[in-house]
């Protein structure tokens, strides 16, 4: 390993921003990346990982002040680089892959033009070469089928997985020796995430140095040779990946490892998890149990049968069936997990269940009453019984409302004193201080917003809450807290949940029963543990196979001899 060329060598890097030089975004960071290895930076949002990565390209920001004892890029002292020299590095020596290719590729330019841009700009093409060959090669290298056709298309015409590959192709087309990937898989479904990680791994195998940035330790675990855990601008833990995961030195790393849901975490509080090394030095995870749950009732809360929804398009070939003969029953107090990739029909099913969309065929009953295909006037009286927690609550809040008004939307018919009391009680239930009632949504953190959304849903005293990816936008530890809150309130109040998520490990943690949706059909359903232990359908097996292996020894398969 030591014989390999060192691409990046940084000691004691500190980056501060003009507006706030007193608290640097990055402090005393050491980082080395060699050719043919993958180094990961892991941390929550705001931990300084992206700033660190971008400073390797001189792109930390116009008002960024960088100091370092040693800052060598491509074997040269980069502290003295002027803009011209940095531009020669970017795209040529180092390529950047960002999150969400839909916005990271210029939506008005074809994939081909985006891919070829770096090579053309650095004059790597012969003067008369249109670059078609280079585009074809770069797209083929990242496993994009039919590259010539894709090159003529635009980002919005590609699926999420292909788009992300095209973004990687654009980053490597200039032949960089260093690839910086900033959350390259975050917005993707599990199966596609695995594919993209495989593409990145191939780059490393081909000799590139990879700096992988992620908020998710489990993504990094399968790829990175070494990992740096960052918190509040500092590296708190670092070393070979296996070693950091097996023997985390810093309490924060332990929290990160323990907070992810896993097979062993059911019925326990994720946020209470702590790691204690046992006598042999291996780590064990201890968690506090959730309150006992009431038995699941027999009476169905929601019954859907034979739901079918087709979307017509201009020509018959483009028309597609979003839902095809889907039936499900949710009983009182039951937690049903709904898993599927984007485009599988999850959102259509949720909209029909919420009575926001009428099915083309099939029927929904809520609490024994007809729910689908009736006039909205007849639904209205029953609406409070069915509540919704969205993925991004901020966009579901009126930005001019205060928290008390948002919760109050579901408290109509109460006197103002009763409303105040109830709001206070609800805030306490979701773990927010009373003073939050006067805050506006924009001033709340992601976790706090989700708590407000939960309080708003509970205000209506619902029988069923549909949670649509409620924590997928949150950092691991915040995610653990919100999941705990949902689970705890569910136990205490006995509200039934339809929990929609693409995160299988999370669904396994919360759900009693699980439905797997693919191409508008339920391909598998059953008790959660039964499905996970003995999946029947190939698709389910592939999905379960794409879950990153557990990070900690406790949940792993039988120990090595």
């Amino acid at each position: 390993m030591s014989a390999r060329e060192t691409l990046v060598e940084i000691e004691d890097l500190t980056v501060a921003f003009g507006a706030d030089p007193g608290t640097p975004a990055v402090q005393n960071v050491d980082l080395v990346v060699r050719a043919g290895e993958c180094v990961a930076l892991v941390g929550e949002s705001g931990s300084g990982k992206s700033v660190t990565a971008r400073s390797l390209l001189g792109l930390a920001g116009a008002d960024a002040q960088m100091t370092a004892r040693r800052f060598r890029i491509a074997g040269e002292d980069a502290l003295g680089f002027d803009e011209r020299r940095w531009r020669a590095i970017r795209g040529r020596f180092a390529g950047l892959v960002m999150q969400d290719a839909l916005t990271s590729l210029d939506p008005l330019r074809t994939i081909g033009r985006e891919v070829v841009e770096a090579a053309r700009h650095h004059r790597l093409l012969a003067p008369r070469d249109a670059g078609d060959g280079l585009v074809r090669e770069a797209l083929s290298r990242v496993g994009v089928p039919d590259p010539d056709r894709r090159a003529r298309q635009y980002a919005h015409q590609l699926s999420g997985g292909l788009r992300q590959r095209a973004l990687i192709a654009a980053a490597i087309a200039g032949g960089p020796r260093l690839v910086i990937a900033d959350e390259p898989t975050t917005a993707l479904d599990a199966a596609i995430q695995t594919q993209v990680v495989a593409v990145l791994r191939d780059l490393v195998a081909a000799g590139a140095g990879l700096l992988l940035i992620s908020h998710d330790l489990s993504v990094v675990a399968g790829v990175a040779d070494r990992v740096h855990v960052m918190r509040r601008g500092r590296v708190v833990d670092s070393g070979p990946t296996a070693e950091v995961l097996a023997r985390p030195r810093h309490g924060y790393t332990r929290e990160l490892i323990a907070a992810s849901p896993s097979k062993g975490s059911r019925g326990a509080r994720l946020s209470s998890a702590r790691i204690a090394p046992d006598a042999a030095g291996a780590i064990r995870i201890l968690r506090d149990p959730l309150p006992a749950r009431a038995p699941i009732g027999e009476a169905p809360v929601l019954e859907a049968s034979g739901l079918t929804k087709r979307y017509a398009a201009g020509n018959a070939a483009k028309a597609f069936t979003a839902l095809d003969d889907v039936s499900l029953t949710i009983r009182a107090g039951e937690v049903v997990g709904l898993v599927g990739e984007s485009g599988s029909g999850k959102s259509t099913l949720a909209k029909i269940a919420l009575g926001l969309l009428e099915p083309d065929a099939g029927n929904v009953r809520l609490l024994g009453r007809q729910w689908s295909v009736v006039a909205e006037r007849e639904r209205r009286a029953l609406r409070p019984k069915l509540q919704y927690i969205p993925q991004d609550p901020l966009s579901s809040f009126d930005p001019r409302y205060r928290v008390a008004d948002i919760i109050g939307e579901n408290l109509s018919g109460l006197s103002s004193q009763a409303r105040r009391d109830r709001t206070a009680a609800l805030l306490e239930q979701v773990g927010l201080d009373h003073a939050y009632k006067n805050r506006r949504p924009a001033t709340l953190s992601g976790g706090q917003r989700q708590r407000v959304a939960i309080a708003r849903a509970l205000a209506a005293e619902p029988a069923l809450i549909i949670c649509d990816e409620p924590v997928s936008a949150l950092d691991v530890r915040i995610q653990a807290q919100v999941v705990d809150l949902i689970a705890e309130l569910q136990s205490r109040l006995g509200t039934a949940l339809l929990f929609i998520s693409h995160d299988l490990a999370l669904v396994r943690h919360v759900a009693d029963r699980i439905l797997i949706l693919k191409d508008g059909r339920i391909v598998e359903q059953g008790e959660t543990d039964a499905v996970f232990d003995a999946p029947i359908h190939d698709y389910t097996r592939a999905l379960i196979g794409s879950i990153p292996p557990p990070l900690h020894a406790e949940d792993r398969a039988p120990a090595h001899p």
Partner: protein, 310 residues
């Protein structure tokens, strides 16, 4: 592969444009008949001589039923026949046609100048230092708020009366076009630059700009290659308003600089109650607006591939 649906969309857009144009012709017809008084009197304007009323009635077929008159009116406009100005004793098409060119020249020159100024100002100052932005946006605000005639008078005082670089009035050569075009362009350029800069700054925050920077592109190249097209979208929306503003402004500018053109024709027609000419000018303005907004919608499709889907 998406050529045929695209053609169909353009065709559909053209069809609606024709409908709108038809609607404006209908509105003109209704307005003419809704005016108090007899049609003959309205069309004759201030003129009074024996046999005139009868001649008008015969020419416009006023003895026929209203639906018949309407069909005839639409058919005449469709064949580009706007009737005769009884005040000037000349076909309306000739009157307007002979004066349209100087106005179009002025509006086009001003439009092009405004576009160049705005793109330059926005590209050079968007997302740059606070000083450059402050100066540019102050100048733009002054330009956008100043009335055209006032700018015209200032320009005349400076460049014609004092420096004597440009003629005071007339439309003899390119020199006589410079000051009116500048006067007309400045307010439009000011507003357009502000819209463009705001759109550019919004675009500069997009992730794909970081991607472009990470490929080694310099700031100017990024603006020209990646930002300008995105920023053009809101500016194109403004384009419809701009064309109206340029035409309206041209009328005033012509008066200030003593240029021939539609402005003089319109003003005279209004003052002498020459209704056939007024009618023609109104319909011409409506047709120009319809054509412009159709063109802009096609421009949208050309700029943004995402709109071509569906």
């Amino acid at each position: 592969m998406s050529a045929r649906p695209l053609l169909r969309r353009v065709a559909a857009r053209l069809a609606t444009s024709i409908l709108v144009a038809w609607g404006s012709v209908t509105t003109a017809f209704v307005a003419l008949h809704a005016l108090p008084g007899k049609i003959e009197d309205i069309l004759a304007g201030d003129l009074e001589y024996p046999g005139l009323r009868e001649a008008i009635a015969a020419e416009w077929g006023l003895d026929r039923s209203l639906p018949e008159q309407y069909v005839d009116f639409v058919a005449r406009i469709a064949s580009c026949d706007f009737g005769v100005s009884y005040v000037l004793r000349q076909p309306v098409v000739e009157i307007v046609g002979s004066q349209v060119w100087p106005t179009v020249q002025l509006a086009a020159a001003a439009g092009a100048l405004a576009l160049v100024l705005a793109v330059l100002a926005a590209t050079l100052t968007a997302g740059r230092g606070p000083l450059a932005r402050g100066v540019a946006s102050t100048v733009e605000l002054v330009c956008a708020s100043a009335p055209v005639f006032w700018i015209g008078i200032l320009l005349l005082m400076a460049f014609s009366f004092t420096l004597r670089w440009f003629p005071v009035s007339g439309a003899q050569n390119w020199k006589s076009l410079v000051l009116p075009a500048v006067a007309l362009a400045l307010p439009t350029a000011g507003l357009l630059a502000q819209v463009l800069r705001e759109a550019m700054e919004k675009t500069l925050e997009q992730p794909f700009i970081v991607t472009a920077r990470a490929r080694g592109l310099g700031e100017t190249l990024i603006r020209v290659r990646h930002v300008l097209r995105h920023a053009a979208l809101p500016a194109v929306t403004l384009g419809g308003w701009m064309i109206g503003g340029l035409l309206g402004g041209a009328v005033i500018t012509e008066k200030v600089f003593g240029r021939p053109g539609l402005g003089a024709v319109t003003l005279n027609a209004v003052l002498t109650h020459d209704v056939p000419v007024v009618l023609a000018v109104v319909l011409l303005a409506a047709f120009i607006h319809v054509a412009a907004s159709t063109l802009l919608d096609v421009v949208y499709l050309a700029i943004d591939p995402r709109l071509r889907a569906q």
